[in-house]
Structure formats: structure tokens, C-alpha cells
Amino acid sequence: MPVLHTVNKSPFEKNALDSCLSHALDGSTLLLIEDGVYAAMRASSIEPRIRRALKRLRIHVLENDCRARGISEDALIEGVGSVDDAGFVDLVVEHDNVQAWL
């Protein structure tokens, strides 16, 4: 499997998500962690970008980071998956490399 990208910044604060999306190759995976999970919320100005990205990338959020920020499962954009800490480990193992967009 290709690269697992992690983004830990809110897209409303930093441009880490945009940097990631403009470099990530088709078929790679994006995991949103920490404040990065805000990007996966439905009905924000970022939603169209995430929907476009979902056509070529797998996108996940880290469950605990969503819960810590009051983002419930049904507030997520359809197609965005949710993983727990064990799921994060599995994603790291499934992919050849992990790239953190700090």
C-alpha cells in the first residue's frame, strides 16, 4: 500500500491539509488526528475539498480526537471512516510509509 498521510492541524488555522492534499497521490490514505479532525465535519467551508479528495483517497478520523472535540459520528462527511487507536496502528502497518504534515 502507498503512503499514509497524517494531518493534525485544523484547516481553519493552518494550511497543512491543503499541502497534504496537493501532494498526496491517488490511492493513498489520509488520517486526520488531533485538531485535523475538524476538516471532516459536515457543512463547513472545507467540505467540498474533502468530498473531492474522497474520490481519490481513503480518509479516516481518529475517533478519540473527534469525541474530545464534540464531533459525533453523524457530524462527519459521508465516506469518512472512523478508527480507534488500534485502527491507527493497523493503518500504519498496512502502508509502506507514514508522512506527518506538521
Partner: protein, 130 residues
């Protein structure tokens, strides 16, 4: 699988130290090996035994030290980053004529070569920072 972690941020300042710890626990629970956690930049502040958080708060240093004790995780602080921030072991304290050391159990101070080695030796290197 052999996994290395890089932590670039200090405790109680950024979520990186918590995210890295949770990841390490989950990986160990799944039977993977955490080969090394390399603490760089402000991350070296994870390794002072003098931190004294309130009793109802997590103790970030003790959590790491416990991982080293129970799972043999190698906790390495970057020497240059540690010197700048006043983190030293007995050897460093002596070499720099300090009257005390403050490194926590399970941690050791070494150079960037340890990060490069982790990147070579490990199947995956995961970065947590700001």
C-alpha cells in the same frame, strides 16, 4: 512489526506527547515492537523527572518511564535539544559542571544518530509534533 516514534513537542503544551503515548500503547497491545521513541526539540521536556503535575492529571513522564520498564521501550532524548533546555543525566551534569541532573528513569541522552538508526532499523517511523 518494528515501529519507531518521533516526538517533537513538550508535555502539557501540545497533544503530540499524548497522541504518541496512546499510539505506543495501542501498538504494544497489538504485539508490535516499539523499537525507540526519539524526543527532539521541546519533546525532550518529556524526560525530566522533576515534573510534578496535579494529582488528578496524567503524569506524562511517569507514563513513558513505565513503558520503558514494562516493555523495554528505548526512550532517547536529543543531546543538543536537551542541553538547551536544561535536561541532563549525571554524565552531562558533570561534563557541564552542573550541580544536579534531572533525567527520568528509562530515558537516556544521545545524538541524532539514534533517530537515523531508528529510521533504518524500524519498519515504520511515525512522527508526532506541531
Amino acid at each position: 512489526m518494528k515501529i519507531g516514534l518521533l516526538v517533537n513537542e513538550g508535555p502539557y503544551q501540545h497533544q503530540a506527547a499524548d497522541s504518541a503515548y496512546r499510539f505506543a500503547c495501542a501498538a504494544l497491545a497489538k504485539g508490535h515492537e516499539i523499537f525507540r521513541v526519539f524526543f527532539y526539540h521541546d519533546g525532550v521536556n518529556n524526560g525530566t523527572r522533576l515534573m510534578t503535575p496535579p494529582q488528578d492529571d496524567r503524569h506524562i513522564q511517569q507514563r513513558w518511564s513505565e513503558l520503558a520498564r514494562t516493555h523495554g521501550v528505548d526512550l532517547v532524548l536529543c543531546v543538543a535539544a536537551a542541553q538547551r533546555r536544561g535536561i541532563c543525566d549525571p554524565d552531562e551534569a558533570k561534563r557541564n559542571a552542573k550541580d544536579a541532573d534531572n533525567i527520568a528513569p528509562g530515558f537516556r541522552i544521545s545524538g541524532l544518530g539514534q533517530l537515523v538508526e531508528a529510521a533504518i532499523e524500524c519498519d515504520r517511523l511515525v512522527t508526532f509534533g506541531d
